[in-house]
Symmetry: C2
Subunit: 453 residues, 2 copies
């Protein structure tokens, strides 16, 4: 037990924070299931080549080695997954014969990346993914279902609102083709850096591409400026007078999604033509969500449509669409700002006092009766003075203390230690106020920042 | 997507099996919290030296390496934890100033061991641990609370009963001292191999110890034979006429625990004097549970009292006691035997049919109303013939199909596709039968093995 300092990038929450995290995860699970997604979990490791095939994350992969492995084993090269999309696609390709399509699954697991830890960026972190994969085809209606569900999920949590920015890679690629840009993928990757490096640098890089022209750069930068709360982005694009079949297809898809989101409160969803998502596997709709008031944190959720990721070697396509929620990124920020908590810091609702050591079975009986009705109860560890037992409950944030009778002629009593109100009670009947029965998420005001954003 | 074969030792469940696993984990979480345990999660990695300090598992540790790490970083030596007890003890030692003692926590996480995969032995597996750690001291009553809670938890699951074997290391060590065995730890490690190598081999090894005598070997083997459903083990030990103060202390503690368990159904708990638990950190009570009818699987839960694990360099002791449940080991066996399942293979209770593409909003509205009342609903992906939509529900195991009206003058109808019964319904009021509302665990008969064990 020598090394006991925290490890940078590997967050560990306090018991109070972990209680919050469990309630957030429970909420996600419940809502995903209500919407027809089935739970799935993949192993934490993948063969290294499966991970290297996708995305540009090779620097960030953690490879495993058995401490005393021989050379022969060393090249087996298992590595921790860096997201949940690639393992899910591998799982579906591997088990397609046993699955029923369209296959809707959610997956809440940790992922690992060896990158430099920064604010909101961790080496070990929780992701909550929900995806649907179809066999051969997947209707565009699922591209709409994803943000609808995301809104439903996040809106019910006491956290700042998330603004979801939506684009379509076909718009970007079609626009590039219409501009006769040869390497559209490169142009999109450059455009994707707009937030990081600014307009001038992007213009320079675009014009520096082989055969790059001022017109191309200006048109692309103009496209990237478009941001509308509805399907009116289409008119804005058409003003730029670039034509391509693929662009039209992309506009059609993005319009369908934006029109379907008309019922979502204003400002929560925007068509934003500069969103590209770096990963190569997206082929249509792309999503990126930011936390209002915490935009500097970067994307707190992201995803998109991938038509070829899961297909593997088969000629039968397995197109999918999904969104990943960065649980650790969101919570780390809200914990830091002390703006998300639970109604109490412990699951325990009632501390059952101990009269003396001999009457421990009596106290245990009270706890059993409460627990049988779903009321979390703990026993005081020692029969010290009642004042000390009440102090223990106070220290742990337990709202009620139960006092079994010291002699058989007296009755049980229960005390709300916040108000000091105490009265007789029966462990088979007593009910705490509804707001105290279970652990609930609550949003806190942030004293250092004034009113809640 | 080349390597798509399963990886030996890294299990992945089907969606139906994962659904079972989520319900088992939910049950454990709920019950742990009812009993006053707070959730905790530690990072997946520890500095290698923290892991090497405890137990004899150095061969089995997975070390991490960033794929493109420089030499300087290579010696940072982070490794995946092999259990949840060592990380928990490290967490408590590291955060003791912020915790309230006695600190009761549960922790359900994966652990990794690089050992050779076998039946019931995995390289990646779920453990569910519950422990309590005290400051300076921890009353013996917690050694009793652990098996009481374990019984409560497992008894409510539709799995074969678990028999918990209990011993106390003070009994073993005190007995060795009474026999004037110099290296008691070695003698206990030899005795611990009784199940694996048999009585003759154990006798030989005991007598082969420095100064080992026939009397010592015979007495120890006689002790290891003792197995009683209550505190009568004490009389059996005393017949062996070995005396030591520590032995008496151990007998006293084990008697307290066995007497406290008198209310547990007969045969579920046994004092078994040959249980030692290999890990060095146990100092008192030790537990080991086996699944009835699956004894060959080995321990499905285990734990004990550790007085020095968490204390670290401080002079203040942090004694603890806890039990770990091997979720993956239990489930892998029950999945193999097809003896544990859920009432349906999907979270979805109702599939809402699509009349035509134009009426998708109507179907979505139905789904929303059902979801708002906690009834999981999914939309049919395409407005194909109703027969096909019903088939889809059948294939996915969804019990109900909802038919919105094809014209406004008709009413909504819902069909139980198992019975074929169909009738009018209102999406804001309709209730499925209580047994169909939620996903529940059910125990299946095992056709290949006759009646349920």
């Amino acid at each position: 037990m020598k090394k006991m300092s925290p490890l940078s990038g590997f967050p560990e929450w306090s018991p109070e924070e972990r209680l919050v995290e469990t309630r957030v995860i429970e909420h996600l699970q419940r809502t995903f299931e209500l919407f027809g997604f089935t739970p799935l979990e993949t192993r934490s490791v993948e063969p290294l080549e499966v991970l290297l095939e996708k995305g540009e994350v090779d620097k960030e992969i953690y490879v495993l080695r058995r401490l005393q492995a021989g050379e022969a084993e060393a090249d087996k090269n298992l590595a921790l997954h860096f997201d949940l999309t690639v393992p899910f696609a591998r799982y579906v390709a591997q088990n397609r014969g046993q699955l029923s399509f369209p296959f809707k699954r959610y997956q809440i697991q940790k992922a690992w990346r060896g990158e430099r830890p920064q604010d909101g960026r961790f080496r070990e972190f929780y992701q909550a993914d929900f995806d649907v994969i179809g066999e051969n085809e997947l209707p565009i209606s699922y591209d709409l279902e994803m943000p609808l569900l995301l809104h439903e999920i996040l809106d019910q949590l006491p956290i700042p609102p998330v603004t979801l920015l939506i684009n379509n890679r076909k718009v970007l690629e079609g626009f590039c083709r219409g501009l006769r840009i040869d390497d559209g993928a490169l142009a999109i990757r450059i455009l994707d850096k707009l937030d990081k490096i600014g307009e001038d640098a992007v213009r320079k890089q675009l014009m520096g591409m082989e055969g790059g022209t001022t017109r191309q750069a200006e048109k692309l930068l103009a496209l990237a400026q478009i941001r509308t709360p509805d399907a009116s982005f289409a008119d804005e694009i058409r003003k730029l007078e670039v034509d391509h079949e693929l662009l039209e297809k992309g506009i059609e898809e993005l319009s369908f999604v934006m029109n379907g989101l008309a019922g979502v409160p204003k400002g929560r969803v925007l068509a934003d033509l500069h969103i590209a998502r770096g990963l190569d596997y997206y082929t249509g709709t792309v999503y990126e969500g930011v936390l209002t008031g915490h935009e500097g944190l970067g994307a707190v959720c992201s995803g998109g449509r991938y038509d070829d990721l899961a297909s593997g070697s088969s000629s039968l396509k397995l197109p999918g669409v999904g969104i990943s929620i960065g649980i650790t990124r969101i919570l780390s920020r809200l914990f830091k700002k002390k703006s998300l908590s639970t109604n109490r810091p412990t699951p325990v609702c009632v501390l059952v006092a101990l009269v003396d050591e001999a009457s421990r079975p009596l106290s245990l009986e009270v706890a059993s009766r409460l627990r049988a009705r779903g009321i979390a109860a703990d026993l005081a560890p020692r029969p010290v003075k009642y004042g000390k037992q009440i102090q223990l409950a106070q220290r742990r944030g337990i709202p009620f203390v139960w006092f079994p009778p010291a002699d058989p002629s007296s009755s049980h009593e229960v005390r709300d230690i916040r108000s000091g109100v105490q009265g007789p009670a029966d462990a088979s009947l007593w009910e705490p106020p509804p707001e105290d029965r279970n652990v609930r998420l609550v949003r806190l005001p942030r004293p250092d920042e004034g009113p809640i954003d």
